[in-house]
């Protein structure tokens, strides 16, 4: 059983692409080998910045021969049919066999595919893999047409067993396969040949290449933590950075340095971000003070001076970078001291949020208005929520966030505190963005909640109003994430919120802002140009409308004026308002459509969210059909109770009993054209089971009504569960549709009571099964 070794040696592969490239190489090669009829016992892929390597163990030496027989047309068939058969089998006439096929003789093709050698198969599979490799971005180089992530220099492809090693021959765009590779670019650049994977890995290690990315990561982490420990510090864990750095070096050499005294006053997030983004340094923290005081850099070289030159160079670059960061920090603090945090936000008027939704300033104004409305619903002080909304995005204008966008929110907290704002307002700068993803924490401070909800709901209604909803996999404005954020904010804090009302309020704020702006600009126009005003007024007067009287009044006022060359500002404003008011009316009427549509979107997202928590979609539908479904907390409480109820024995059976009652009742109602909804009387009960059911319904009703009032769905449902036995016994003993019309009607009315009671808990008709 030979082993297969493949190495694709190239110029530096981007670190972020190496992980997937390893998986792709392994999958494409092993799938190809298996498809061609080979089997193998194991495979693993490895990589360094300059090579992608795959080792396949225990490969079968050749594929099995395959014999295939195909029946063709009858010997009497027309020439065309025979020719077609020859074409499809790739055989010639003399290769066909004639055999008896029951109804006369027919042609038969016997196709023998001989077994193929592993080397031949591997060569074909490797060539196809290289030519079709799914790099996120690939390129051409030189005068060739081959594509690879960066120029491909050599291909090592070897089959080896106890008997020795054999190069799998292939040639791709002039790159011939061989058995040689190279070591570290600077430490061991010579080429050398290998005979097996073990030989390859061992020689690479001697040539200063650590082939296994996990080994490099472990080595880096081990040396980094040791170096930090020796300096009395600890390395701040960062798995992503570790993977990336391990993908940048073939021979990791860890070097540790101290951050200059000048920079220790910078916020730890700033130090960490600057060092990570620009230099790919790990941060080292002083556990006692919590400050970031040192860094670890990983070199790809092992110089005679033990890295003194490298460390000094890195230290110098770091100082320049941190000087920039310090400059930003001090500049920002000065701005805050001079103008307050709100002053910092001034420039946001010039930053477009979306060309149809105005500037960031417009958006902040809307969020402020909405946060003020939401505040009392979530237990926040409206003024505090409004203040938080006004400053929450101010840091977008700070120099620091301009340089490091990922520090948005984080810097806001620092700057808000520097401005002396209350903690709740400061924290909202960061928390109003949360939750950022399904695993991110949900804020619990009422001020943060109010601003977070206002921010997300403003975004949603805004994009809904301009018809930019997510479709399929396209969600460029991350609206699904915003909706899930709202859902998690509501559920996580058990907020009792009429979501429809909040959406409505949000859209009203938008409309008001939009028309406020257009009235303002129209007013200016009219003040400056009398004829525009007069013409607009004439247009309005010509329209039949509710406000004609008012318009006529303005008109008369204008005509009475001696000087008909200009309007007063007051008049201009009135005309502008009357003009804009027509559009505003249309938009206001449309709010309900947006509200309902967006609410349905929330319900969809909620279903996805609850499905992940194990609640069936029909259970949610049963609860969605109940009144008050704008209140997501109530909705989920009901759904959770119903879901738990259905998992009990009584629950499942009661649903069957309910469905049976409901079917009989519905059929009877349809047939009779009446609704049996009142007047079941125990005195017409004939059977003991009927009387028991009457009593049980009385008891259940008495228990369910108060439980529902208290929103204790669990109690309501267990009271409902007590109906199971009486309902089952009733159907066992009694025929509903008897000849006695009085008894029949009484029983139908009794079923109606079951229906009413059960439907008061959830719309059980929506349940499946």
């Amino acid at each position: 059983m030979p082993d297969l070794l493949i190495e694709l040696f190239s110029e530096e592969i981007p670190a972020r692409m190496q992980g997937k490239a390893r998986e792709d190489l392994k999958k494409l090669i092993t799938d190809g080998l298996v498809e061609a009829g080979l089997t193998y016992t194991g495979a693993h892929a490895l990589s360094t910045p300059r090579r992608l390597t795959l080792a396949v163990e225990g490969l079968t030496a050749e594929s099995r021969a395959v014999r295939e027989e195909r029946k063709g047309p009858a010997t009497t068939a027309p020439e065309q049919a025979v020719q077609g058969f020859l074409r499809s089998t790739g055989l010639t006439m003399d290769q066909l066999e004639i055999r008896d096929a029951g109804k006369g003789q027919a042609y038969f093709a016997v196709i023998e595919k001989p077994g193929r050698k592993a080397a031949e198969i591997a060569a074909g599979v490797l060539e196809a893999t290289i030519r079709n490799f799914p790099w996120p971005k690939s390129m051409r180089w030189g005068a060739g047409s081959l594509r690879w992530v960066r120029p491909l220099h050599s291909i090592l492809c070897l089959l080896s067993d106890e008997g020795g090693a054999e190069v799998v021959a292939l040639d791709i765009d002039g790159i011939a396969s061989g058995n040689t590779t190279r070591g570290h670019r600077f430490l061991a650049p010579e080429a050398f040949s290998v005979t097996s994977f073990e030989d390859y890995a061992a020689k690479l290690k001697l040539a200063k290449v650590m082939l296994d990315p996990d080994e490099r990561a472990e080595h880096i982490w081990h040396d980094a933590t040791n170096a930090a420990f020796a300096a009395g510090l600890e390395v701040v864990e960062d798995k992503g950075l570790l993977t990336e750095v391990a993908g940048l070096v073939e021979w990791p050499v860890v070097l540790m340095g101290r951050i200059g005294e000048d920079f220790l006053g910078l916020p730890p997030e700033v130090l960490q971000t600057s060092m990570k983004e620009h230099q790919k340094f790990f941060s080292c923290r002083n556990a006692k003070t919590g400050r970031i005081e040192g860094f670890v850099t990983v070199a790809n070289n092992e110089p005679a001076d033990h890295g003194a030159t490298i460390l000094a160079g890195n230290q110098k670059v770091l100082s320049a970078r941190l000087s920039d960061a310090k400059f930003f920090w001090e500049n920002d603090l000065r701005t805050v001291a001079q103008t307050g945090l709100e002053g910092m936000a001034d420039g946001l008027a010039n930053v477009t949020f979306h060309n149809k939704l105005g500037s960031q300033r417009d958006r902040i104004d809307r969020i402020e208005a909405l946060a003020r409305e939401i505040a009392p619903l979530v237990g926040a002080k409206p003024d505090l929520a409004a203040e938080a909304a006004r400053v929450a995005k101010a840091d977008l204008q700070s120099a620091m966030v301009g340089e490091f966008p990922e520090l948005q929110g984080t810097m806001g907290v620092y700057y808000a505190k520097a401005a002396g704002l209350p903690d709740a307002v400061a924290n909202a700068c960061k928390e109003h963005y949360q939750p950022l993803g399904p695993s991110d924490a949900v804020p619990s401070d009422p001020v943060s909640i109010a601003v977070a909800l206002a921010d997300k709901i403003d975004t949603l209604t805004g994009f809904w109003a301009i018809d930019e909803k997510p479709t399929g996999s396209k969600d460029p404005f991350a609206l699904r994430r915003a909706a899930l954020g709202v859902i998690r904010l509501v559920l996580g804090n058990e907020l009792r919120l009429d979501l429809g009302r909040v959406i409505h309020a949000s859209r009203d704020v938008e409309i008001e802002q939009q028309y406020g702006k257009s009235i303002k600009s129209l007013t200016e126009q009219f003040v400056h140009d009398y004829s525009e005003a007069a013409q607009t007024l004439a247009e309005l007067r010509a329209l039949e409308g509710g406000d004609v009287y008012h318009i006529n009044q303005i008109w008369e006022a204008l005509e009475d004026a001696e000087d008909q060359t200009r309007v007063t500002r007051e008049q201009a404003e009135q005309i502008a308002a009357a003009y804009a008011g027509r559009g505003m009316q249309v938009d206001t009427q449309g709010v309900w459509i947006i509200r309902d549509d967006l609410l349905a979107f929330f319900h969809d997202r909620l279903k996805v969210h609850l499905r992940d928590e194990g609640i069936r979609h029909d259970v949610i539908d049963a609860c969605l059909a109940m009144p008050g479904n704008d209140d997501l907390t109530l909705l989920v409480k009901r759904a959770e109770a119903l879901s738990a109820f259905l998992k009990t024995d009584d629950g499942g059976n009661l649903i069957q009993g309910f469905k049976r009652s409901n079917n009989i009742l519905s059929q009877a109602e349809e047939k009779d054209g009446v609704e049996y909804s009142f007047g079941a009387d125990p005195k017409f009960a004939e059977d003991a089971s009927e009387r028991t059911l009457f009593a049980a319904l009385d008891t259940a009703e008495a228990a369910i009504a108060p439980a529902m009032k208290d929103e204790d769905f669990g109690a309501a449902m267990s009271a409902m569960a007590s109906l199971r036995a009486p309902i089952d016994a009733f159907f066992e003993a009694v025929q509903v549709n008897t000849d006695n019309e009085i008894v029949r009607r009484n029983r139908l009315n009794l079923l109606s009571r079951i229906r009413t009671i059960c439907l008061s808990v959830a719309d059980l008709t929506k349940l499946e099964g």
């Binding site: 030189g142 120029p151 600077f186 940048l248 070289n301 110089p303 001076d305 890295g307 320049a320 930053v351």
Partner: protein, 310 residues
């Protein structure tokens, strides 16, 4: 290979010139127009197109009006030098050639940490992109290394390898200088030693003031539109002149494109271009660059005759 450390800014430039000349590059002189980067030189932008082999190296003074800091910032300048190497088709040992150039200016790879870190290059104004790296030396970016894939909307066949060295930054590192203005320009022991600041501090101040406060935006805007119109007019002209010669004027048209690009940069520095307008202006320059590229590939230097023969 030179083993001694260079002593001045100009020595580093001279060593790079000598090195790349020894590797077979035509050592060109800077293009005589204001450009934002060495890539704008027609020796790169236009010569990267078409099938003709090409190898050139040159210093290109580059201007980025928004980066002006009145000569006060240790690393930022509105006028600086780039060293540019372009070889088509990219040779298989381009990385080794590049490392050789670092050795030539005294960067010994055995004591430093030299790394090729992913950095894809894109020029929205030139409609160009390529894949490559920024090269780090001990954590500092010292060069940009790119394999051109597309220029002016045309696929590059064959592919050019492009190297760009930010000369001031590289030289400061090699010479161990912290502020660009303190860097020796000529030899420190020369009879008249000159520092970078002796030559450029005053011009940085003058241009910073002009770029940020004084440039007449009305005039700049007019010049932009004139350049744009002239570029289009030149390209729309009949390919055949009065004497019946076919002469496509790709280079004169491209000059106008470069002008428009620089005028846009000046307008940007004056802060009169809003975020939304920005994209539109970049799009207008790109449209010119594409048309120039379209024209160039129909010319002799653009490899048109080989195309026709094939």
């Amino acid at each position: 290979m030179t083993t001694t450390a260079p002593r001045s800014f100009q020595e580093i430039i001279l060593r790079l010139q000598t090195y790349w000349a020894s590797k077979g590059c035509a050592v060109l002189q800077p293009y005589d127009m204001e450009v934002g980067a060495g890539t704008f030189h027609p020796a790169t932008t236009l010569r990267a197109l078409g099938s003709r082999p090409w190898a050139a190296a040159y210093v290109q003074p580059s201007r980025r009006p928004t980066d002006g800091r009145y000569g006060e910032n240790p690393n930022r300048l509105q006028h600086y030098y780039q060293y540019q190497v372009i070889i088509k088709p990219s040779p298989p040992d381009l990385q080794a050639l590049y490392l050789g150039s670092l050795a030539a200016i005294g960067v010994d790879a055995s004591v430093h940490d030299i790394r090729f870190v992913e950095d894809d290059w894109e020029s929205p104004t030139l409609g160009a992109w390529g894949l490559g790296w920024e090269v780090w030396c001990d954590g500092m970016e010292v060069s940009q290394f790119t394999y051109f894939q597309q220029v002016g909307g045309h696929d590059c066949h064959p592919v050019s390898g492009e190297l760009t060295y930010g000369l001031e930054r590289l030289a400061m590192y090699v010479l161990g200088v912290d502020h660009v203005m303190d860097m020796p320009f000529n030899d420190p022991d020369a009879p008249i030693p000159l520092k970078y600041g002796d030559i450029f501090r005053q011009t940085e101040q003058e241009y910073s003031r002009w770029n940020f406060d004084q440039a007449d935006t009305g005039v700049l805007l007019k010049h932009f539109e004139d350049a744009e119109a002239e570029c289009e007019r030149i390209l729309a002209a009949d390919e055949t002149d009065g004497a019946g010669r076919r002469i496509v004027m790709a280079h004169p048209a491209y000059d106008q494109c470069i002008k428009a690009s620089h005028l846009f940069n000046l307008l940007d520095a004056r802060g009169v271009i809003s975020v939304t307008e920005r994209q539109a202006y970049i799009g207008r320059v790109r449209a010119l660059a594409k048309k120039c590229a379209d024209a160039f590939v129909t010319t002799e230097a653009g490899g048109a005759s080989e195309g026709r023969a094939a």
